[in-house]
Symmetry: C2
Subunit: 173 residues, 2 copies
């Protein structure tokens, strides 16, 4: 809101080269008002220009910062993946447990970034949350029910990162 | 640039309630000019207001889109991590190879997001790229050389996600 404090635009600078003192011709209230209004108008234009420039300058920085923030959240996952591999000479059970912990950590990261995992079965098919990859006969399931999740989905209905790839039971004809 | 096409602000709307036709008092060129200038001024203010509102509205959306883009890049890594775990009953060598492939994929993702890995040894210590966690005696290394990387760094000097945690050779007194 402090745009008025910024340097005046080039037009203003040019105009002040002809100060009022050099033109002492009689001026009515209207002329004075016009001068004041022109000043305000030019100042508003300068503010508009400054605002556009400021946003154009700040936008890439803000996007970069957001990308860095989201990416930095994954570094512990990568670190632990490497830690699990550093113990690759341990018994297989230890390796698998280590990698499972990394997987859980990755899901925590996704949740913390705003994209919780969705892999529920037995729920009604929802075109926002699910992508149907196969339709199956399933006498035990109500028609149009998610009976298998082939690839989990991430995100909420209003902020979807990826829908779950699912198999649904055939609808009744 | 089409801000002028938008609806006039409240002030303009109020002013048009007193159209010029109802006030046919004689007006000099200055008064007309003043009216035109006031109109321009108010329009510039309205543009300024609209621009502020537009950016305030767009900014969260753009940041959200950037976060989603950066996060979506990690989904294949998570998928493959789960695939490696799904074959947890395979021989240990297969598991390790699978997890190594996931690790390589994670490093590719970091690189594609603009944060390449840095774990070079034998390079001079650089306070921008390195964080010293220990200083060691190393007769084979020139003083102030990175002799060990304890945790890799990610990013470029001008876009650092995390500096590498390193051990450096002691400087000569």
């Amino acid at each position: 809101m402090s745009d008025h404090d910024q340097a005046p635009p080039a037009e203003d600078a040019a105009r002040t080269e002809h100060p009022q003192e050099e033109a002492p011709a009689p001026q009515g209230p209207s002329a004075l008002e016009a001068e004041e209004l022109e000043d305000r108008w030019r100042r508003a234009l300068a503010d508009l220009d400054n605002l556009r420039k400021r946003y154009a300058r700040d936008r890439p920085r803000e996007l970069e910062a957001e990308r860095a923030r989201a990416t930095a959240a994954w570094l512990p996952v990568v670190d632990n993946l490497e830690l699990a591999l550093a113990h690759a000479d341990a018994d297989p059970e230890t390796i698998v447990r280590g990698v499972q912990a990394v997987r859980d950590q990755a899901l925590d990261v996704l949740r913390s970034l705003g994209y919780p995992r969705h892999d529920e079965t037995g729920v009604p098919f929802d075109p926002v949350l699910h992508e149907v990859v196969s339709v199956v006969e399933d006498p035990d399931a109500a028609p149009g029910t998610v009976v298998q999740v082939l690839r989990p989905g991430y995100g909420d209905p209003d902020r979807q990162l990826r829908p779950a790839a699912v198999a649904v039971s055939r609808k009744q004809e």
